[in-house]
């Protein structure tokens, strides 16, 4: 028998959310959405509980989690970094900025640094096209960013 560990509070919370959607297999996406809202991410143990509660296979649920980029299995960093990949930002070099973040933090998009400080994600247009390319760190907006500026910004948060 394979064992998975999870705190009682978490289990009860997940069960409550599943029940609020009638424990229906067809509500999988909504359940995942709500649970991620609660815990910030969807680790395997959490998916196992959901799968059992709403009667779908763990593989099927994982299929949904990997299909939608919105869902994530890694916890967000203390300082979540979001690089806008909307059209305006993209044409103004957002990709180069993103690459610089990847290089500097040594993580890929969707990942979190081992010390839990930073996580990296992409967004679509955040409505600040005039400032393109735009990067969000937590709630703070950084505009007209160049690859050269990336290191300095990260250092603001490193200390």
């Amino acid at each position: 028998m394979a064992k998975l560990k999870l705190s009682e509070d978490k289990i009860n919370k997940i069960k409550e959310i599943c029940a609020s959607f009638g424990n229906k297999p067809s509500e999988a996406i909504n359940v995942l959405h709500k649970v991620q809202g609660e815990f910030g991410y969807l680790p395997a143990e959490v998916q196992e509980v959901i799968a059992q509660e709403i009667h779908v296979s763990a593989a099927h649920l994982y299929g949904i989690v990997t299909f939608y980029s919105f869902f994530t299995m890694t916890p967000k960093g203390e300082h979540p970094i979001s690089v806008c990949m909307g059209t305006a930002c993209y044409v103004r070099g957002a990709e180069k900025v993103l690459d610089e973040f990847k290089r500097e933090l040594k993580i890929a998009v969707g990942e979190t640094t081992p010390d839990g400080k930073f996580s990296l994600n992409c967004l679509r247009c955040v409505g600040a096209c005039g400032l393109a390319p735009v990067v969000l760190i937590g709630d703070k907006v950084y505009g007209r960013l160049t690859p050269d500026g990336v290191k300095d910004i990260i250092n603001e948060y490193r200390s």
Binding site: A2, L4, L6, A59, H60, Y62, T66, M73
Partner: protein, 590 residues
């Protein structure tokens, strides 16, 4: 049934409304190529994602080409299945698939039987124009199945089989776009998933992305080792399918040729799993009667119905899904494992050799048997009762490697004593067969009377779930049968809910039973092949001089000389097993 008029490749055709273009074309002999589409009509299994677009056809008046497998005909439809536009489009589609596919054909296990390879040849593709990035995944090796997902073309046939026919849910499509593949939860290895190793995903996979672990090399090495005595046993379903690998008609019975081929390959003793099937009936039949007797006396500790336990795919399934019911299945080992136990505990003594000097090989229609023989409880000090389980396809491979002209072999007999079997042992290979064999013996043991007719037609057939009541001289015995784990789940759920009154239930994981096992020659969705194997099994049974397990003289001798009584002490030790809870438990932390 409403009929409509359509024109297909300039031929006016009357077609049934609601049918797909593909079905109608096939009925009138027009072969539209397909890749993702998969159907096993005998068991109502269909995979129709309409995703690969290899089957596109041109419909007059429509701007876009339409997938024939997913488009229904309408009145007056004019269809071209091989117009220039269609041929070009189809070619592009296949070229695109090939551009993200490793060109491993030289050493691929599917080569020669791969539907993608056949298609590329049929369309005359000589080079691959869209060379681009190829997705790469790690190979997943389990005890029985290899997943080489670089070769996956995302037809999703395996996913449908695993989820719909088996309700196992080990596999699902994950990711999107270029990254999309079929995988397990969290992309873990198959061993960490609820996979039963039934292998039906392999049987459905059009390419070499899924295959069984090949052990022919190890077997040849054992045969070449002069210190080893190599014993082989052959499962009942193999003899009605092996011929297909050598161009013989489906349903050909090749028992004698198979024995001759195995001897020519160099096995020291050519024995028969059917012998062990007869032994299984002695044990399981006795267990059934004992449970019924105690149950009627009001013994609360005994569970009915008894469930058959000879299918390792099924055993894995209930260990994962019915941990609360582990005392319900029969404790009798499967024939493969009973044979192994007899070979390594009895035959070694007869020969005066140690178990380490004997290698037991089984030839099985089955992929799950590879997993079964590696289970720890079937080993003594690390030495397994059955060393290697080869599939029917692997045996065919050996026959070819040894340059044996199979079709023209003279028929030979099995060796004795572990090669003698009855008709009851033979029908183990088909759905309903195990329970019919058990009924033949249990009836006579229970009533003390001789059966007038040994054929229990009411237990036969290919419907997914069947039930019948057999009259044991005034005592009605209720029997349930399921093939396919979705059907088994349905039966088991009603047993769990206390809604049935069965005394015994037989389950086999594969379509039609072991004759449709995943180690058999590929049928590529042609269910007629399974029907022909089914008929052949019952023909072989009818032709046997002895048709009840307890009348097998060598079985009687084995009990007299060695085992004592069915379900006796030695039997319990060597021929019975126990089951494990493999379900997932969410534990509270702290």
């Amino acid at each position: 049934m409403e009929m409509i008029n359509i024109i297909i490749d300039n031929k006016p055709v009357k077609a049934e409304k609601g049918q797909t273009i593909l079905k109608i074309a096939r009925e009138i002999g027009i072969d539209i190529p397909t890749l993702c589409y998969y159907e096993l009509d005998g068991v109502n299994l269909e995979n129709r994602p309409g995703g690969c677009r290899v089957c596109v056809v041109e419909i007059e008046g429509r701007r876009n080409l339409a997938p024939a497998c997913a488009t229904e005909v309408t009145e007056g439809m004019v269809i071209h299945t091989h117009s220039l536009r269609v041929v070009n489009a189809r070619r592009t589609v296949v070229e695109l698939i090939l551009s993200d596919h490793p060109a491993d054909c030289l050493v691929c296990s599917k080569s020669g039987k791969c539907e993608l390879q056949t298609l590329a040849q049929r369309l005359g593709i000589r080079d691959i124009p869209f060379q681009g990035a190829k997705s790469t995944y790690r190979k997943d090796m389990s005890p029985a199945i290899i997943r080489d997902i670089d070769k996956c073309i995302m037809c999703r046939r395996c996913e449908t089989v695993c989820n719909v026919w088996q309700t196992v849910g080990a596999l699902s499509a994950i990711n999107r776009g270029f990254e999309a593949v079929v995988a397990t939860a969290y992309e873990q290895d198959l061993v960490k998933s609820p996979c039963t190793y039934c292998g039906q995903c392999i049987a459905a996979c059009p390419v070499g992305a899924l295959s069984e672990v090949d052990q022919t090399r190890q077997v040849i090495t054992a045969i070449s080792d002069p210190k080893k005595t190599v014993v082989v046993q052959t499962a009942p379903a193999v003899r009605v399918a092996l011929g297909e690998e050598f161009g013989m008609e489906p349903g050909s019975i090749v028992t004698g040729k198979m024995a001759a081929a195995l001897r020519a390959i160099g096995f020291d003793y050519v024995f028969d799993t059917d012998f062990a099937a007869d032994l299984t009936i002695m044990e399981e039949g006795t267990e059934l009667l004992d449970r019924i007797a105690r149950f009627t006396k009001g013994d609360k500790t005994v569970k009915l119905p008894i469930l058959t336990s000879c299918c390792p795919g099924w055993v894995n399934f209930f260990e994962y899904n019915y941990p609360d019911m582990l005392d319900v299945p029969s404790t009798a080992k499967s024939p493969q494992q009973m044979f192994g136990a007899v070979a390594k505990n009895y035959w070694t003594k007869k020969l005066g050799i140690s178990r380490e000097d004997m290698v037991v090989v089984s030839i099985m229609p089955c992929v799950a048997k590879k997993f079964e023989c590696q289970r720890d409880e079937f080993k003594v000090d690390g030495n397994p009762d059955v060393d290697f389980a080869l599939t029917t396809r692997e045996l065919a491979e050996l026959v070819r490697q040894f340059n044996i002209d199979f079709a023209s072999l003279e028929e030979e007999d099995f060796d004795q004593p572990l090669g003698e079997s009855t008709g009851a042992g033979v029908i183990f290979g088909a759905t309903g067969g195990v329970i019919e064999a058990a009924t033949r013996t249990a009836y006579e043991l229970f009533t003390g009377k001789t059966l007038e007719k040994v054929d229990f037609k009411e237990l036969r057939g290919l419907e997914g779930i069947r039930s019948a009541t057999v009259d044991f001289d005034g005592t009605p015995i209720n029997i349930g049968i399921a093939h396919g784990l979705a059907n088994a789940r349905q039966l088991l759920d009603s047993v769990r809910a206390g809604k049935t009154n069965f005394h015994a239930i037989e389950v086999m994981a594969c379509p039609g039973g072991c004759i449709g096992g995943a180690g058999q020659p590929f049928h590529q969705g042609n269910f007629d092949i399974i029907r022909k194997r089914y008929d052949a099994i019952y023909r072989e049974d009818a032709g046997k001089p002895i048709r009840k397990s307890h009348e097998n003289p060598y079985i009687q001798a084995l009990y007299k000389e060695w085992l004592g009584e069915p379900c006796g002490e030695l039997s319990h030790h060597l021929l019975h097993t126990h089951y494990f809870d493999k379900s997932k438990h969410i534990e509270i932390e702290g």
